[in-house]
């Protein structure tokens, strides 16, 4: 435990955004817009600065000891359980903290411009700051319970922000859907935590900070027998939050919120919480090959599934939403094959380019007078030059073209999917195919939005303008990050050192069974990785080349089909009698299937049994009215004696006392 001034900064990283939210929330409209916006940005900016300070402190420590923690109080203490209100930062949470506050800050700045004319300006920034607070609690929480608190907090903020424009019923419904679907996942998550407690507590003696990640990691072996069940339950939570099959359905609908929200919460940060949690619990997941296989399978299935849907969507944000679902699938795939570092790497690069793409789409929507349908866009290339160029960079990055960020992380995931013990040719091939689709639909998006002639009404066209500097500046910064962000993980086979993986090594070292207590020298990790890489770099080169080529093919094909030979696109639409296109456009009818199999039966059950039967019948009828009836009957009997005649009371009193005295006298 390193004790100096740095560790106390941890609490302020979390609390400063909360203070921002409280100030904005309590003063609300009494606060001028400029003050409110600047306050919110300053809170997140400060949080980012503090994160950097603590991060720099971590870099100064020996690799295996990179850990600072800050305990505010003991929160829960009974039996041999102790749960602290504590924050900690290790290499993994440092990465997440920097992403959340850094990208969060840029998006806050962007929102100054985007939300400038909105009535709920102060409310918006309240929720945004509250979100950063919850997300930082999630990331920096020192134990599973703190993580869960943050987990629920971000869920709440997500709900509030999706239905931010709640006067439109569709938005309110989308928020509700997100919340309910997330609750299903959270239920599994909670059961997972309970199962950990139930398994571990009888085996531990003295009072312990039992759900702290450090304790769990130290005693992971004891959890071995229950590992599969625990991991699958936790993964249900992760699937809810990170929008994996079968719980991904809320994320596309979540685009009902303001675009900065889509960028921050539903692309860059919150939805990666599931990946973060799986990576955080890596020491447990590696104990269960079954759970790992499930994670990998769900991940790759989600990646492929969502990217096929994205190809047909017409709403610019829906395309990006399905793209996000698909990219989250990649991250899960990485975790599932044991490449946690690669998963987190993709979390980071994805945060850069997906935030960029969403903010770019926001800029487009802003320019197009809130139009989101790509079919009436087009030709924006010259009218929105900054947006266009940054968007193009984001597109190339997500398509996985060297040397932009997406190439490194996606290629590493695909390589690990191919080469790890848990991977193989099939997961690689599916992921590879989805990567091409990604490039294809992104090219389609760019062509439909920025190329050709504008198809909007003349009135909308006359309003098209480039966004203000508060909006374009974050775009430029994110574009730069989307270019260079991947270089930190320059792979070994290309002569790099993969600093990113090295940085996370201490966190995942235990997971890889390298050492019990993370006493893992960087040098040895280095050596091992280098030795590992030495004998099959040729395969790595081939696969990386294939990914690059495949990404370029996807981009070119998308560009060609939607710009030069639209007849091909028409042909695609009518393929198989239009059946394929219709199925994809309607998202495989998954929502409809859920509606028929889960929602309607649930509704019927609620209506007939739970409402009419249990609520109206048992609770209202038997319990509420029943107990009232019993009291009424007793009362009507007692009422006979309450006749208001004083002499009657006097007689009753006298007789009562007499009987009582006689009883006492003769009972001995």
């Amino acid at each position: 435990m390193h004790s100096d001034a740095t560790e106390i900064l941890l609490r302020w990283i979390v609390l400063v955004p909360l203070l921002g939210a409280a100030t904005n929330g309590l003063l609300n409209r009494r606060l001028p817009r400029q003050v409110s916006g600047l306050l919110a940005c300053a809170a997140v900016g400060l949080s980012f600065a503090l994160s950097v300070v603590v991060f720099l402190r971590l870099t100064g420590m020996p690799a295996a000891e990179r850990f600072v923690s800050d305990t505010l109080a003991t929160w829960i203490s009974f039996g041999n359980i102790r749960i602290d209100l504590a924050f900690s930062m290790d290499p993994l949470s440092a990465v997440m903290a920097l992403i959340v506050t850094g990208v969060g800050f840029l998006i806050h700045v962007y929102s100054l411009g985007y939300m400038a004319h909105d009535d709920g300006f102060q409310r918006f920034f309240t929720y945004m700051n509250l979100f950063i607070f919850a997300m930082m609690t999630l990331v920096l929480g020192e134990n599973l319970v703190m993580l869960f608190v943050g987990w629920e907090g971000v869920g709440l903020c997500s709900y509030l922000l999706i239905s931010f424009w709640f006067s439109d019923e569709a938005n309110a419904a989308a928020g509700k859907k997100a919340f309910v679907v997330n609750r299903i996942g959270d239920f599994g998550f909670l059961l997972g935590i309970f199962l950990i407690g139930a398994t571990l507590l009888p085996l531990l003696g003295a009072e312990q900070n039992v759900l702290s990640f450090r304790t769990l990691q130290a005693h992971a072996g004891l959890l071995g027998p229950a590992a599969t069940a625990i991991c699958l339950l936790l993964f249900l939570g992760a699937a809810g939050k990170s929008a994996q099959i079968p719980l991904y359905i809320w994320l596309p609908d979540a685009m009902a919120g303001p675009t900065p929200v889509s960028a921050l919460i539903h692309a860059a940060t919150m939805v990666t919480a599931g990946v973060y949690m799986v990576a955080r619990m890596n020491f447990l997941y590696v104990l269960s090959p079954t759970a790992m296989a499930v994670v990998a399978a769900v991940g790759v299935a989600t990646a492929l599934f969502a990217s096929t849907i994205a190809v047909t969507q017409n709403d610019i944000k829906k395309v990006l939403a399905y793209s996000t679902v698909s990219q989250l699938g990649y991250m899960m795939l990485a975790c599932g094959v044991g490449a946690f570092a690669a998963g987190i790497f993709h979390v980071m690069t994805h945060a850069f380019f997906k935030a960029l793409l969403f903010l770019g789409s926001g800029s487009v929507i802003h320019a197009m007078s809130n139009e989101q349908d790509m079919r009436v866009m087009g030709g924006l290339k010259n009218k929105l030059p900054v947006t266009y160029w940054t968007f193009l960079i984001g597109t190339i990055a997500i398509a996985g073209v060297f040397p932009l960020a997406g190439f490194f992380s996606k290629d590493e995931i695909l390589w690990k999917a191919f080469s790890s013990d848990g991977g193989g040719v099939l997961p690689w091939a599916l992921g590879f195919f989805a990567a091409g689709l990604t490039a294809f639909y992104m090219a389609r998006l760019v062509v439909l939005t920025f190329f050709d002639e504008n198809r909007a009404s003349p009135e909308v066209q006359s309003h098209i303008h480039e966004s203000p500097a508060t909006m374009t500046l974050p775009l430029v910064v994110l574009a730069i990050l989307s270019v260079i962000g991947g270089w930190i993980g320059w792979p070994h086979f290309m002569g790099g050192a993969n600093h990113f993986e090295q940085w996370l090594e201490p966190v995942f070292a235990v997971g890889h069974g390298a050492a019990a207590h993370g006493a893992h020298e960087v040098a040895s990790a280095h050596g091992a990785a280098a030795a590992h890489g030495a004998h099959d770099t040729r395969m790595e080169w081939i696969l990386a080349g294939a990914s690059l080529l495949w990404g370029l093919v996807g981009l070119t094909l998308g560009w060609f089909v939607y710009l030069r030979r639209t007849s091909v696109a028409d042909g695609f639409r009518t393929m198989g009698g239009g059946f394929v296109h219709r199925v994809l456009l309607n998202k495989y009818y998954v929502d409809e299937a859920y509606e028929a199999t889960v929602i309607r039966p649930g509704y019927r059950l609620s209506r007939t049994v739970l409402w009419k039967g249990v609520d109206a019948g048992i609770i209202d009828g038997l319990l509420v009215n029943g107990s009232a009836l019993v009291v009424a009957i007793i009362g009507s009997v007692l009422r006979i004696f309450q006749n208001g005649m004083v002499r009657y009371y006097a007689w009753a009193f006298t007789i009562g006392v007499t009987v009582f005295v006689l009883y006492l006298s003769f009972s001995g």
């Binding site: 309450q642 006749n643 208001g644 005649m645 004083v646 002499r647 006097a650 007689w651 006298t654």
Partner: protein
């Protein structure tokens, strides 16, 4: 004739019975209040008698406390009755049954 404990107890019992019967049969609230005082008084006699018999001052303490309670009760009771009389022009308890349902 020597006066023994028994005499005190008989006196107390007689007083108590007079009070009790009066309380039950009379309808005038003031008389009923007086009957209550009479019953309280009879207990005072018992307390004093036993206190004397055992040579224990505790009984006296209770007698004094009883006085205080009785005085308070009389003060409140009479005040209420005065107020009732002002409003209803009667202190006959049979007429005072507004609390009957």
């Amino acid at each position: 004739m020597e006066i023994t404990l028994t005499h005190y107890l008989i006196l107390a019992a007689v007083l108590f019975l007079i009070g009790m019967v009066g309380f039950v049969v009379r309808r005038n609230a003031i008389v009923m209040l007086m009957c209550v005082e009479l019953m309280l008084c009879s207990t005072n006699i018992v307390f004093a008698a036993f206190s004397r018999l055992h040579g224990d001052g505790g009984g006296h303490v209770f007698v004094l406390m009883n006085f205080a309670v009785a005085a308070a009760e009389a003060a409140i009771g009479l005040a209420l009755l005065v107020e009732i009389y002002r409003r209803r022009r009667t202190v006959n308890v049979d007429d005072l049954k507004a609390l009957m349902e």
